[in-house]
Amino acid sequence: MITTKTILQPEVLEAVVVRFVGDSGDGMQLTGTQFTDTSAMFGNDIATFPNYPSEIRAPQGSLYGVSGFQVHIGSVEISTPGDNVDLLVAMNPAALKTNLYAVKPGHTIIVDTDSFTKKNLDKAEYKTNPLEDGSLENYRVIQVDMTTMTKEALKDVEGLDNKSITRSKNMFSLGMVYWMYDRSLEHTVDFFNKKFKGKQHLIEANTKVLNAGYYFAETLELIPNAYTISPAKMVPGTYRIIGGNTATAWGLLAAAEKSGLELFLGSYPITPATDILHELVKHKHFGVKAFQAEDEIAGVTSAIGAAFAGDLAITTTSGPGLALKGEAIGLAMMVELPLVVINVQRGGPSTGLPTKTEQSDLLQAMYGRNGESPVIVIAASTPANCFNFAYEAARLALEHMTPVILLTDGYIANGSAPWKIRSVADMPEIKNHKVTEIKENWSPYDRDEKTLARNWPVPGTPGMEHRIGGLEKDFVTGNISYEPINHEKMTHIRAEKVRLVENNIPELKTEFAESGDLLVIGWGGTYGSLHSAVKQISDEGYKNIGFAHFNYINPMPKNTEEILSKYKKIIVCELNAGQFVSILKTRFPKFEFSQHNKIQGLPFSNDELVQQFKLLV
């Protein structure tokens, strides 16, 4: 059943962006994932982004019920899911209407004509049928009666109801796209065999429809040529496609195993962070204790309790939840316990744009607590490196005995990309400050000379019984102290402890020009967008542009000032009104920073960045 194409010699492309869109029930996420996995196994570099409606079961055919999945594949390095779409697969009028904006003129749209009924056109608020009124004349539109052909392909398969038949039309579209981009059907057929194991009629039906789509495209004269995308040059190794939230969860699992501690998660459901909870609750086999609490506050407080008792303690949330956790994070800072707080940022303020991305919780992470309460703040920058930074958050919390806030965002949390799998054996060591041996004049506030981290005697250890709390404590004994000079001293100690983390993190690196006219600065989830824009400008011949991306915000890498001094101009790009730049301005007042900000709930587009940077070089 699996064929290789022999008729045409396909045209070779560097990269292509495909978007599958349809009704929530049309299976577009599955279709997109299959195309992604097949392309990954073929060796392409990849970035994906799903786009679901907020409504769980939106009415069929409605504009707000459209679900989509975008995938960017390339033989070159791919760092974003792409802005404009080369191929749009639209399963109904609403999907076409809501996604047409993204298709470049002259590019291809595949539609299921069977779904362009009067009823569906009305639901999509089309006054005339766009397939007939000439409004799509700037695009190459491939009209396919996909539902009819799916039914035709399945007429001999027994045991299928009407619903199952109609639902498998997504595989028809996938078959077509496989042919167009010269992909093998093998991976998806294997997938059917596993997914529908024991349900032979479903395996047969899906395989038949997939093949039907493939052959249809092959014989269809409406598709004049096909394309291929060669494998990308990637570091050899074993890979998998991973989403940011899964990578975050796995980084924590790895840190628990490496540190020899049990993992405790205290969490409360909140978009877009909940998938970390979903992932971690699966892993009871590793002894993960995942506790869904009654609210955000109990999520973080239970984690603080677990940290007191000696676990690797985590809490996960998004912006509004971080606000609720503020007081408790201050407690963890005050009692100096290791705590990892993961904030998957979304559009704010208040409830804001829950399903959209933004970087507007940075100042909240830095300062959102009462009193002088510095904590470590780091940020992941790609779906795959959420793994590394979740691991890093755990390492820094344990080695420095203080809360660490890890910032990711909806864009990288929901996006996915190839991940070169890291074995736990290859991850850096994680030390902790647990003590069992009692020394003379022992105190729970005895500090490590280098890091100022206090020791970590846990309940159950004989002879080390002690009390900690949110009240100010004596520098030596840890007992309650209201003494003025002691309070000032302790305030400085807690700040210094965080500052000293700079000795335990890597230096800031630059990409492209090491010095020159313009330094582009970003932090967190915008890495892909900024990197590809700077690369484009650099490839076009502007060689005096450099790029520095921050993963460590508090403290910053030691060489930050040195890097800043190597460029004539600096531009700081953020998906907020200018939060990181405000920190940089305070910290490095002698430099002038210009800024590029976007607060639309959307990632940067390549065009807007390139345009902006060109004005400055």
């Binding site: 405790f264 506050i297 973080v300 309790g305 019984e465």
Partner: protein
């Protein structure tokens, strides 16, 4: 994870910390402290395995005065922190020390969910019907009409009954005890420790400064035997100086009867069954104003959260092909780049 370490022998002094106790002279909190210090040596638990977690308020200073592990946390949040401690190390004996404001106002949500889950830990609630540490505002248990700093013309907010709230939240263990009764309080602490599941003990605690005498009508030495019924599992519900008063069920209400009058004999008196799952009668006892029910009103042995979690974990572990994280990371849809 059961420890096999032999339990050491202690006296109450072993549980006394070096910190100077700073409650007001005459406060019932001293009684609770001393009762706890006396109860601990009887519990058969090692000192290093005892943890006191508190929120904010007068009662929440408690952990500083114990020589065990302890954490004085933030207002209302002790149940969350204590839950984390216990789930992280089920071998510990964990105690939440809280007040009426801490547990039922700012911490009300955590309070009900703690009881619902039935984690094996203990909560002592010092109920003085007032905010003491902030110097005298009405609390969720203050009475309507009560004049306080924040209700100078009388409180207009009707109170919670802690016991009713707790039973409504499915508390498996609820006890109530006067703050001037160290002997029974000590025993209740020991019983609460032994009980598997969340135990809630309401202490009727007199605040000598801001609400002095608030429980005198039931706890005063002169009246307590006539005004309180001290419940014991398996024993008839008899009270009174002369042990001649008892409780019977009359239709849907508890009724006080006198033994020897109107043909009432001891046989007619209800026998207390604290271990009964059905909480109907426990709720009636909790609501009773005369006599006020004290002692262990409910002690129903139910499955704890840890037991459910442990069973699931064992099952998942036995059936899982993942022993190390590498097994997970390299499983499923992986591919080689050469």
């Amino acid at each position: 994870m059961e420890t096999t370490t032999a339990v050491k022998k202690y006296t109450f002094k072993d549980f006394t910390s070096d910190q100077e106790v700073r409650w007001c002279p005459g406060c019932d909190d001293y009684v609770v402290l001393r009762s706890m210090q006396k109860a601990l040596p009887e519990m058969g638990v090692n000192k290093e395995d005892v943890v006191f977690i508190s929120g904010i308020g007068c009662s929440s200073r408690f952990p500083y005065y114990m020589s065990t592990y302890g954490m004085h946390t933030i207002h209302g949040r002790a149940p969350g922190i204590a839950s984390g401690v216990k789930l992280a190390n089920p071998n510990l004996s964990v105690w939440v020390m809280t007040g009426d404001g801490d547990s039922m106002a700012i911490g009300g949500n955590h309070f009900i969910h703690l009881l619902r889950r039935n984690i094996d830990l203990n909560m002592v609630m010092f109920n003085n019907e007032i905010y003491g540490l902030t110097k005298g505002q009405f609390s969720p248990t203050s009475l309507v009409g009560q004049k306080t700093k924040s209700s100078p013309y009388g409180n207009t907010q009707p109170p919670f009954s802690p016991g009713e709230l707790a039973l409504g939240a499915n508390a498996r263990f609820f006890a109530r005890i006067g703050g001037n009764n160290p002997k029974d309080m000590t025993q209740i602490f020991i019983d609460a420790h032994k009980f598997k599941g969340t135990s809630l003990i309401e202490v009727l605690q007199n605040c000598v400064i801001f609400n002095d005498g608030c429980f005198d009508d039931v706890t005063d030495k002169e009246v307590k035997e006539d005004r309180q019924i001290f419940l014991e599992h398996g024993k008839p519900m008899i009270f009174g100086k002369n042990k001649d008063k008892g409780l019977v069920l009359n239709k849907l209400k508890l009724e006080v009867v006198t033994i020897g009058e109107n043909g009432v004999t001891q046989e007619d008196i209800l026998v207390h069954n604290a271990k009964e799952e059905d909480k109907t009668l426990h709720q009636m006892l909790v609501r009773l104003e005369y006599p006020l029910a004290t002692g262990i009103i409910r002690s129903f042995a139910d499955v704890t959260l840890e037991e459910r979690e442990d069973a699931l974990t064992a099952q998942v572990k036995a059936n899982s092909k993942f022993k190390k994280t590498d097994d997970l990371f390299f499983s499923g849809e992986t591919y080689e780049v050469k």
